[in-house]
Each structure stands twice: as C-alpha cells, then as structure tokens.
C-alpha cells in the first residue's frame, strides 16, 4: 500500500544497474588503502557539540565522507509503558537519511536501523548514571546524513551520541568512544570504508570508556582466530583513546 | 471599502448571522443615571464596545429592555445549570454514577443526590437505566453534575429513575418549547411547574394529543423526551408526533397529529 502521509511517486522504482565492467575490481592492499591510509589509521575525525538549538544536547561528527548528527532530549517524562521506579531509561533512535547511502533508504525503519538503535542503547547505558533519573527517559536521536561503511557508521553514532549526552549535561561515568575494525584474512584494518566493507571477511565494533578503561559493548561479525580478534580489540582501544581526545577538545571548544 | 457581504444595515434585522453587529441604542428607560448602558447578554451574543455581536444564527430576542439573546436551534446539548435533563447511566464509579446526557462530557450523579439517600441507603441503578435529573453544576471548565432531588425541599419532585416507556430525541429548541415558551432566564420557573406528569398546558402538541390519548411525558432540555402510555401503539403514536412536529411549521402541527391519531385508531380497530 502506498504511503498516504508522504508525497508519493510511482508505485515501484529501482536503483539503476551499473554498466557491466565500468567499475575497476577492488583489491585490498594492507600497505596502502584506497584512500591512502595505513591499516591502523582512523579517518580524520571532526566533532562539534551544541549544533541543535532546541535540544538539551547535540553533536555532529564527520569522518571522511561519513556524517552523523545526534540530538539528546531529556531527562524528560517517560512516555513508554515500562517505567522503572529506580532507574531511568535511554530511548535510542537510529535513522539513515534516505539519501545517505548508495541504495536509497526507505522512510520506515528497517532491520538494520532497529538493530543499531538497540546497540546504541546497550553501548551507552552502562556509562550513563540512570540511577540518578528514576522514572525519566533520555531520548537520543541519531540521523546519518552520509554513510561510508555501516560498522563505521555505528561506531560514529555511538561516539556522537556520547558527545551529545555530555553536551546535555547528563551525568556519566565516562564518555564512550567507539571504533570499528574490518578483517581481511588475518589483517586487521581500522575504520573500514564502505568500499572496503563490501570485501571484508568480518568486522568488529568496540565501545569503550577510555578513562575507566572499561568496555561497554563489543559486537563482532564473521569468523576470525582469537589472536586476530585480540589484535583488533587492541587496535580499537588505542583508536578509541584518540577519538576520546577529539571529543574532549570539542567539548572544551564549546564552553 | 465596504466589508464583504455587508449590504444591509444590521440594526433593522431580527434574524442575525454570526458577525452581525447591532449598535445598542441607549434607551432612556433602562439607562442608569450615572453609569453606561447596562445590558445582559445571553446565549449567541457577545458585547463588543457599544455593540452587540451575534456569534450564532437565529432571531434576536429582547426582554425587560436590557436582556438580549439569540433564539436559534441546535442539536448538541451544552449543559446549563438547573436544566432538567434525561440521561442514561453508563457506569458506576464509587460514590457516583456516570450519566450520558448528550453533552461533550459525561455528567456525574452522586449516589447521595436522591431523595432520602444516605451512605447506607443507596439508590440502586443499573447501567442502562434512565434517569430524569437536574443539572446542579454546569460550567465549561468543570464536569457537569446532576441531582435527582430538589435541594430546597429534599424531595424528588418528579426526578429519579424512569421505569418502562420509551425515549425519543428532538431538537433542543423543541424540547424547550414543551417545557415553556421560555427565555433562558426563567428556567427556574419551569422547574417548579414541570415534572413528568405535569405538562406545560400551553403546548399545542401536548394539549391536542392529550385529548385523545392519556400518556406521561418527561422532557429533558437536552433534547430527549420520555413517553409512557398504556399500550405500545399509543407510545409509538406520541413518539411519531413529536418527531414529525420537530421543525415543522406551526400550521402543519394539527394535520400531523390528526394523521397519526387516525393511524392509531386504524391499528386499534384491526387488532
């Protein structure tokens, strides 16, 4: 059934196919990635807090082509049915803009967006002092403007949301920084782009509180050896500390 | 530039539509010596500076020199204090009944607002019972409240549960016509003369009908009329007359009543 609450076009439309052979085959080179980075280098990351005027807290993150905005509203009255008398809750909403990826996204939330909303909540909840805001909720809205690697997008969303929470003055044990890594055989490649992601064997996203040296969330997909995973975790922990530094700077800049 | 749609002076009009302005001409008899003109403005009118402004359609009425109101018709009932109304019990909530009287908000009828009611001696009303009551509280910001007892005497005075019979709906204007050809200011008077066996003797429909059929009537100003008579056929006949006369021209009323009475006689003869 067509969407009655939006301006509608034709009933069905598809993304056009590429002419065969018009794109050169992708070859992964651990010494020199296609954007010139090293395997253990992040994309240069830029962050700014306080970008949404009417929100209690907000942040914008840009890393290469990847662009994510986040706003935090609350603590406010919990409108959901499940209310805890002792703890507050985080309501997370992760959305890709329709034009943010290669394929046009639908307006309805898809499986991936639902999953990422959940991961966002799981990764941030341990850091937020929910015990101080019983019966209330803090709503976190993440909007991806341009995506370049879905794991990287998720990591960026967690980092950005954490910065927005700090901007909103929500009490936290520590800021949460997140970082992604991709597996190419035994090589671990930090912060893979969309093109790299299409060819990787698996990926890992780590959410980490650098000052406390505690991990809040890890999610891995694909099969690797334990040693490779450990290597990826180590790389990500280091990268998270770098991200944390950028977060601090942007918070100071906004004071 | 003239305002759109204003071609005739309003002062001469009796039938007004919303937006019509009537300048108040100072009337020597009713102007108090020192202050400005004192006017009481009733339903359908507002006072702006020196003018009366209609907000509803109808006929401009004046009484006692300084009271003005609009006599119009509508179907939806808006509660007004001391109106007699006919309601259906929709729920029982602790110390009160919830009663549908056709207004925006359901009304509350306290279990103590009955003749001789105490906490021990509660009236027993089921959901779906019909009650004839009087509005004790009617305010746009409050839930309407009902009572089935005259607070002055403590007696039911005709109010309370109605058993048997049937209910028809009619326009608010017609309901008021049964009660009295009254202005909104003398509803109090109405209450004294009205209960469901004492009828307004002036109402032509009721008087003509009563010559042929004996029946009981309880009229709610919320546009509901309860009818009871010896036989179903008689109740149906009265109900049909009330519905047929609603909105009909006064000259046709006799004809409508006679038509229904004839039909009733035929039915009686065949059975």
């Amino acid at each position: 059934m067509s969407d009655r609450k939006r301006v509608t076009g034709p009933e069905k439309s598809v993304a056009p196919l590429l002419e065969t052979g018009s794109v050169p085959a992708f070859i992964f080179n651990p010494d020199r990635r296609h954007d010139g980075r090293d395997v253990n280098h992040l994309r240069p990351v830029f962050m700014k807090s306080g970008v949404v005027r009417q929100a209690n807290g907000s942040a914008y993150l840009e890393a290469g082509k990847l662009k994510v905005a986040c706003a935090v509203y609350g603590p406010r009255q919990n409108q959901r049915t499940k209310i805890s008398a002792t703890k507050g809750s985080l309501g997370c909403d992760f959305k890709f803009s329709p034009f943010s990826g290669g394929r046009r996204r639908s307006y309805m939330k898809d499986e991936q967006e639902r999953e990422y909303s959940l991961v966002l909540e799981q990764a941030l909840s341990p850091a937020v002092r929910l015990d101080l805001i019983p019966k209330s909720t803090v709503d976190i809205f993440v909007q991806v403007l341009e995506s370049d690697g879905s794991a990287a997008c998720l990591a960026a969303a967690i980092t950005c949301a954490s910065l927005a929470l700090a901007d909103a003055g929500i009490e936290m044990l520590d800021a949460v920084a997140a970082c992604s890594a991709g597996y190419f055989e035994s090589t671990v490649c930090l912060d893979p782009t969309g093109e790299e992601e299409a060819h990787e064997g698996g990926s890992l996203v780590l959410s980490y509180m650098p000052s406390l040296n505690e991990v809040t969330h890890v999610i891995q997909s694909g099969e690797t050896s334990t040693a490779t995973t450990v290597k990826a975790l180590e790389l990500c922990v280091d990268a998270c500390s770098q991200i944390h530094a950028v977060m601090q700077q942007s918070l100071i800049a906004n004071v | 530039m003239a305002l759109a749609g204003q071609s005739q002076p309003n002062a001469a009009r009796k039938i007004l539509i919303p937006g019509d302005r009537i300048p108040l001409v100072p009337d020597a008899a009713h102007q108090s010596k020192e202050g400005p003109l004192k006017v009481r403005v009733g339903p359908g009118l507002q006072q702006e500076q020196g003018d009366l402004v209609a907000v509803k359609a109808g006929v401009l009425k004046q009484a006692g020199g300084s009271k003005y109101w609009m006599d119009g018709s509508q179907k939806r009932y808006v509660p007004a204090a001391s109106d007699p109304v006919l309601g259906t019990v929709t729920a029982r909530q602790g110390e009160s009944f919830r009663v549908d009287i056709g207004s925006a908000h359901p009304a509350a009828l306290s279990i103590l607002a009955f003749e001789g009611a105490t906490r021990r001696n509660r009236p027993n009303l089921d959901v779906g019972s019909l009650v004839y009551c009087r509005l004790s509280v009617a305010n746009k910001d409050m839930e309407p409240e009902l009572e089935c007892v005259d607070p002055a005497t403590g007696k039911a005075g005709g109010y309370g549960e109605l058993k048997g019979g049937f209910v028809v709906k009619c326009s608010l204007r017609m309901a008021r016509g049964y009660v009295n050809a009254c202005s909104p200011w003398n509803r109090r008077l109405v209450l004294i003369t009205l209960n469901y066996s004492l009828l307004n003797p002036k109402n032509p429909i009721v008087t003509i009908l009563a010559e042929s059929i004996s029946f009981e009537l309880a009229v709610g100003l919320n546009g509901r009329v309860w009818i009871n008579a010896k036989s179903c056929a008689e109740v149906i006949a009265v109900a049909k007359v009330i519905q047929a006369c609603d909105g009909a021209a006064a000259s046709d009323i006799n004809k409508l009543i006679n038509h229904e009475l004839r039909r009733l006689e035929d039915a009686m003869d065949t059975s």
């Binding site: 609450k5 939006r6 301006v7 509608t8 076009g9 034709p10 069905k12 439309s13 598809v14 993304a15 056009p16 196919l17 590429l18 002419e19 065969t20 018009s22 794109v23 970008v51 949404v52 005027r53 009417q54 929100a55 907000s58 082509k65 662009k67 905005a69 986040c70 706003a71 509203y73 406010r76 909403d93 959305k95 803009s97 329709p98 034009f99 943010s100 990826g101 290669g102 394929r103 046009r104 307006y107 709503d139 809205f141 993440v142 909007q143 403007l145 341009e146 995506s147 969309g194 | -």
Partner: protein, 322 residues
C-alpha cells in the same frame, strides 16, 4: 501605579548586557517597583507572547534583528556525495539538508514520457522537542504537498526531460529534505535547499536494454538537470494581526497570528510561483503587496548566496556509489 516604562528598553540578546527589569502587567509592574524583578529568561518562559510584544513595540526582535531583517542564508552545495545532488542551507539556527536520489521506474500509461519528482520534508524528532518518532507531522506533510504543487504548477523541471525510454523507463528524483535544527522558518530553508539541490543534481548516462528490460548507467554523474527557474521562498510572520516580521524564529513562530509565504522567481521578483497563507488573522491587501515588495529584496540576497555557493566549491560527487 508604576508606568509601563518600568519595563526597561529591551536589549537585544547576544550583546552581553542583561535586561534589568521587565514588567508583565499592572500587578507585576507594581511588584517590580517594590524591588521585585524578573530576569529576561524567566520573563520569556512565563509570558512568551508579552516578551515578544515588548521587543516588537521597540522595533527590535528578541534576537536583535530589526523587524524586517532576514537571517542570512548560508548555502553549501554537495555536502552528501552519495546523492545525485545535495545542498545544506542554514538560516540562523535552522539547518536543513536536502539530498536528491535518482531511481528508475516505469512511467504511467497516460504519460509515457514523464518522469517523477517526489519532494518530501522530514522533521525528525532530532530537530525539535515538538516532534516524536512516527509518521510525518502535519506540518511536514503539508509543506511537502505545497512544495510538490508549486514545482509541478510552475513547471520547474519539465518531467519529459526525465525520460529514459518512452513507455518503459523514466527517472524518479526523490528529493528528501531533512531538518537537523529547527530554528524557525523551516519552509524557506526547505525550499531554498530543494531549489539548490535540484540545480546541483547530475544524472548518469542511462541506457535502456530492451532484451533484459533494465536500465544501466555509467558510474559518473555528468548530466545536469534542466532546471528552468530558481524558486526563492520568502516568509513573513504577523504578530498581533498588525506587526509584520520577516523570517520568524521558532520562538516567534509559536506566537504569531499568521504567516505569509511567497515563492518568487529569483531572476524576476515581479513573478511569483506561489503564495501561501493558511488561516489566522486577516491580512489586508496593502500588507500583501508591501510584503511582496520586501520579498523581492530578499530574493536578490538569496540569489547572491546561491551564486556564492556555486562558486565556493563544487564538491560534486563524480563516482556513483552503487
């Protein structure tokens, strides 16, 4: 009784000095004379309409602008490389991003050569506390619809130029406009973004293969859209049915008696493609004409901002990410 002058002349916010005392009405004014004073933030929260009224009566607005001053439109083209065309527009706090994605569809039998342009404004819960997750709000739906009617009725892009193969394949341009920061006057920002993004849109070279009935495209976006005109939306707010203010902020919008939007031609302010005034207080003919005159001046500024954006950097995507 303390005169209304107890309210100190309002000082535009942002220049550092605080407003000493602002009285609300007789009672509070009396209280103020007894040494009770309200700080401007509290005053704004308690009596927002009166707060704005005080400012406007002094010919200035809460954010320091004169009544007829518009916020500068800051436009950047091509912020989203995954889109065929994109633009970001800032009007004060209001930030809106518009991305155009091209897809392929079968044309309607009645119009076998006509493509589609599908504009939709999204006001996500991110941009303001007034929106909740779920289907689009009434404002989003109605602004989308109005934009659609305007671009169709003024023939902004001839739909036949979107034809790939008559009767079989045409382009559908999904124009999605996302508000990231709601600082008032979303309509202007959204339409400027739409106009800029469509001008910036490039389509790939497309070929229809009849045997497999599919469309295949090159990996570069090279073909510009033939956009016939540049639309400039200009919105005014009317306060207390009498005071006209240009380009209202979100705080002002909540207390306006009506708003008035003109869609003018960027090249020729004499020509318009739309006017929208939905209910509220009546606007007399001379006010409608006077606002149109002011709107023309604004159109010139917006055109300059667009030109600036076009020069500033054509960060045009050249690789189709499929």
């Amino acid at each position: 009784m303390a005169p209304a002058a107890a309210a100190a002349a309002p000082t535009p916010a942002g220049n550092g000095t605080s407003v000493s005392a602002m009285a609300v009405d007789g009672d509070v004014a009396a209280a103020a004379s007894q040494g009770f004073s309200l700080d401007p933030d509290t005053f704004q929260k308690i009596h927002p309409a009166e707060f704005h009224r005080r400012f406007l009566s002094q010919g200035v607005r809460a954010d320091g602008r004169p009544l007829q001053k518009f916020r500068k439109a800051k436009i950047s083209l091509g912020p989203v490389s995954t889109a065929n065309g994109s633009a970001m527009v800032r009007l004060g706090d209001t930030t809106i991003i518009c991305g155009v994605k091209a897809e392929v569809a079968e044309p309607k039998p009645a119009a076998p050569r006509s493509g589609f342009i599908v504009p939709n404004l999204d006001l996500p819960p991110l941009c303001s506390p007034n929106y909740r997750p779920g289907p689009p709000s009434e404002l989003a739906q109605t602004v989308s619809e109005y934009m659609d009617q305007v671009i169709k009725s003024c023939d902004l892009v001839n739909p036949e130029t979107l034809c790939i193969e008559p009767g079989h394949a045409v382009w559908v341009l999904y124009v999605d406009i996302v508000c990231l920061n709601h600082g008032g006057n979303v309509v202007d920002a959204a339409m400027i973004a739409l106009a800029a993004a469509l001008k910036h849109t490039r389509l790939p070279q497309a070929t229809y293969y009849e045997t497999e009935s599919t469309v295949r495209v090159t990996d570069t976006f090279t073909i510009p859209l033939s956009v016939k005109r540049t639309l400039v939306p200009v919105t005014f707010g009317v306060f207390d049915a009498a005071v006209v203010i240009a380009d209202p902020t979100a705080e002002e919008e909540a207390h306006l008696s009506t708003t008035l939007t003109y869609v003018l031609d960027a090249e020729n302010g004499e020509a318009a493609y739309g006017v929208l005034k939905s209910g509220g207080s009546a606007v007399p003919r001379d006010m409608l004409v006077a606002c149109w005159d002011d709107a023309r001046k604004r159109a010139v500024d917006v055109v300059a901002a667009l030109a600036e954006a076009e020069q500033a950097g054509n960060r045009r995507p050249d690789v189709a990410a499929v």
